[in-house]
Symmetry: C2
């Protein structure tokens, strides 16, 4: 049996109102190429929200998404969510948020589907086998930046609605869309927009569905928690410009040495976070959690092979899952301003900015973490007695999210998975961040379900990101 | 008075055979634009020897230099010096070395001028005010990558010969040129070429002149020593590809954390090199050296202002000059493979390569340093008990060079400076590396003089590198 994710998408709709999904799924299966072409068009737009020079592409991406929904007859708005302030103080227009509505029958439930169409950076020379912005089909795997995260899932939901329309079937629910373009950098501006439209666009929403994560194994999954993320810039500034390391080396206190020195105090080789206060804030692991983790199908050896490492940070399943989902961690992503090209350059970089992030879990609070990290790095830096200047900025502060797996929405999700796949769904958490989940829950008071469409090996944020056709399309001959 | 460096260049020749330089210098002064145009053409070629993708430009640069000398009637050869082995095992043709000869009168002395026409990397977005490969004249300063290091000085010598020819004056000496294209990455292949041609091209050479450094202040200088350079790549490799830091963070031992950890053990905040054996190899500072340094005109406050720092590593002149010229130092240049762009990316880089270098001084030996650094980093890394793989490679191993300042060649240089500038030359060392100086001395047994043409503020290897017109051309009306 293939992995009939899109059928499962339809099933979730059908759990809100009863519906036989076979006809719809068959339609989608026979219109695969239309879907793939749409995905190819979307992937071709380099909608990298982290790169300010790509902002025009990102604006265009939002327009393209809005136009697609408009042509399907949706009531579409491009909502202005204001400006973004860059670390240098400059301001930049945020990409508008697309909202759309299909159906407004007060006798029906209303589901709101959230997704994003911005992507992480990608360059061929990072080690991609194919051009990252040219969707390339290799053995049924569709390779391209954003293919899995999150363009294909957004398009899957849109095409599910399209299938109803093509077959002249009445949608069993009113369907709303909220599509944003800043998810990869912390959903800047979306919180305020949700607050502002709580009593208008969101007032009649009953359930929120998010398909912005992946399965844990080949078994279908429902996700009930995500980690948040606090993303920091630590900038050390010294000389007024880069210096020749031969001519000046030995006479100046080098910013790069300082930066490496403070980065080395964030986390121990065995994974212990060294910033005071962080570990103390984490909710203790309950016996019930321990048992749930114990029951999850997860093969450590397979995980090691998939990643290509000989050893993991923890050697048993529960510890590993817990550190993947419900404990914080520190990752140093890289350094801007230093020499990063191939070859050699004998330079003393004048201003270097480390990028690192700390994944957030209950009961951590981003505002507190910001202060903890900033105070700690400044105290460590002060001990170096360096004349250079340290500036610590938190550029993303996204909270974790956790749902009640006994809620009727999850019961519906479990039933849908059971019907389509004939097996129980894995109830999993997600180490990554979907910042807006927590906001939706806090502001609207509505229930959220996360229903992954992507595969466990899609390579989100990595080289060679892909979405498999088998994750999207249903081969009916195999299912029945 | 302007800085009549090129006249001084001619004066050195004239100290070998007596000659009045006024007529030549006047000619050069009135043909400034021809010279600037030639420099513009050379700067326009992105002959970055560290970037393998620029190798075709580098080959073209060697051809252009050879052709210029050929059109002046020189006996020119493009000497094949073989291939370079890249860290990944691939081989790449080295740029040919240009040799040229003007005059072969056995009754005359023969001087050999060495220079290089490769450059350091440069990109506009590094913070250049002008396009780095478009020579731009701003108030008499000619901005461009390679302007000072080393294209303008090489052209200065060529145009000095051209001035003799244009005025139909007989050269007082035979002039040879050796122009290479790999200086910025350690003069790969040139050592072997000098050894191979010791008894042919170099057999009749009496003196070697190098103009590949700068003055220390506004006072003219002669340079009698350079530091060498051992340049290292430390590569830490973990997962088989970059990973999403949310999805995988906490489960894998991250290469970047390991790399930062080992880099932090190279040098202390106060500048002490922590690699065992390095400091012990350094020749002690003699009383005579101390006195020489004490006599040198050098203003620490001005140096601080020029660099734009509030404090230096050492607070007195002798310590500072000693650490600039005759003590080793460690610089961390940057990290390849990590996220280095603006913005945010939530990635765990899979393979990261730090670039750092250790400046070499007497009596350090690059082969020993290679072993010291490699052993040390592996021992530090082993303590982390990481499953990741560390690979340490030394990609440049250039020896330091030291000359006898009492040699007749330096006496001639001092006399030339005295005659042109009416002041004593600063006798200085150079913290940077001119790898071939040591080889010339060892292999040919000939004496070398380093005669800087560049200004003390030329910004070698930095943003906004420049050569000032006043360093090249003589304004006669001001001189006389």
């Amino acid at each position: 049996m293939n992995v009939p994710a899109l059928a499962c998408v339809l099933m979730v709709i059908s759990t809100v109102r009863a519906f036989q999904y076979a006809e719809l799924a068959r339609y989608i299966d026979s219109h695969q190429e239309e879907y793939v072409e749409a995905l190819r068009d979307w992937v071709a737009i380099e909608s990298d929200s982290s790169n300010v020079f790509r902002r025009p592409d990102l604006h265009r991406m939002m327009d393209v998404a809005a136009q697609k929904l408009r042509l399907m007859g949706g009531t579409v708005e491009l909502v202005d969510i204001g400006e973004q302030e860059l670390p240098n103080g400059q301001k930049l227009a945020l990409p508008k948020v697309v909202t759309a509505l299909f159906g407004s029958d007060p006798s029906k439930h209303t589901v709101c589907i959230y997704g994003h169409v911005d992507v992480q950076p990608a360059k061929l020379e990072d080690g991609w086998a194919t051009e990252p912005y040219n969707l390339t089909d290799v053995n049924g795997n569709l390779y391209g930046r954003g293919a899995s995260d999150n363009k294909a899932p957004v398009l899957a939901w849109i095409h599910a609605v399209g299938a109803y329309q093509a077959l002249s079937l009445e949608l069993p629910v009113n369907v709303k869309f909220v599509i944003e373009g800043m998810e990869e950098t912390g959903s800047n501006g979306l919180d305020a927009m949700i607050v502002a439209q709580r009593d208008t666009f969101f007032s009649d929403v009953d359930y929120i569905i998010i398909s912005d994560c992946g399965w844990l194994s080949r078994r279908p999954a429902l996700t009930y928690g995500t980690r948040g993320n606090c993303y920091f810039f630590a900038e050390v500034e010294g000389p007024k410009q880069d210096l020749h390391s031969g001519v000046y080396g030995g006479t100046v206190i080098e910013p790069m040495t300082d930066l490496v020195g403070i980065l080395d105090t964030l986390i121990s080789p065995s994974g212990t976070i060294l910033i005071p206060g962080i570990r103390e804030a984490v909710a203790p692991l309950s016996d019930e959690e321990w048992r749930m983790y114990q029951d999850i199908q997860f093969d450590l050896d397979h995980y090691k092979t998939k990643i290509g490492v000989s050893e993991l940070m923890y050697t048993n399943k529960v510890d590993l899952l817990a550190h993947m989902w419900r404990y914080p961690t520190v990752t140093i992503h890289g350094i801007e301003g230093a020499f990063s090209d191939p070859g050699t350059k004998t330079v003393i970089p004048a201003k270097v900015t480390a990028k690192f992030s700390i994944r957030q879990v209950p009961d951590m609070d981003p505002a507190t973490v910001k202060k903890q990290v900033t105070d700690y790095l400044h105290s460590v830096f002060a001990k170096r007695k360096s004349p250079n200047k340290l500036k610590v900025t938190m550029v993303i502060g996204a909270k974790p999210w956790l749902a009640d797996t006994q809620h009727p929405l999850y019961e519906a999700g479990k039933a849908a998975v059971k019907r389509v796949f004939d097996m129980d769904a894995d109830l999993i958490r997600e180490g990554g961040t979907i910042p807006i989940a927590r906001t939706f829950q806090d502001v609207t008071g509505k229930s959220i379900i996360m229903m992954p469409i992507g595969g466990f090996d899609d390579g989100l944020h990595s080289q060679n990101e892909k979405m498999s056709r088998s994750n999207i399309f249903l081969n009916f001959m195999e299912l029945f």
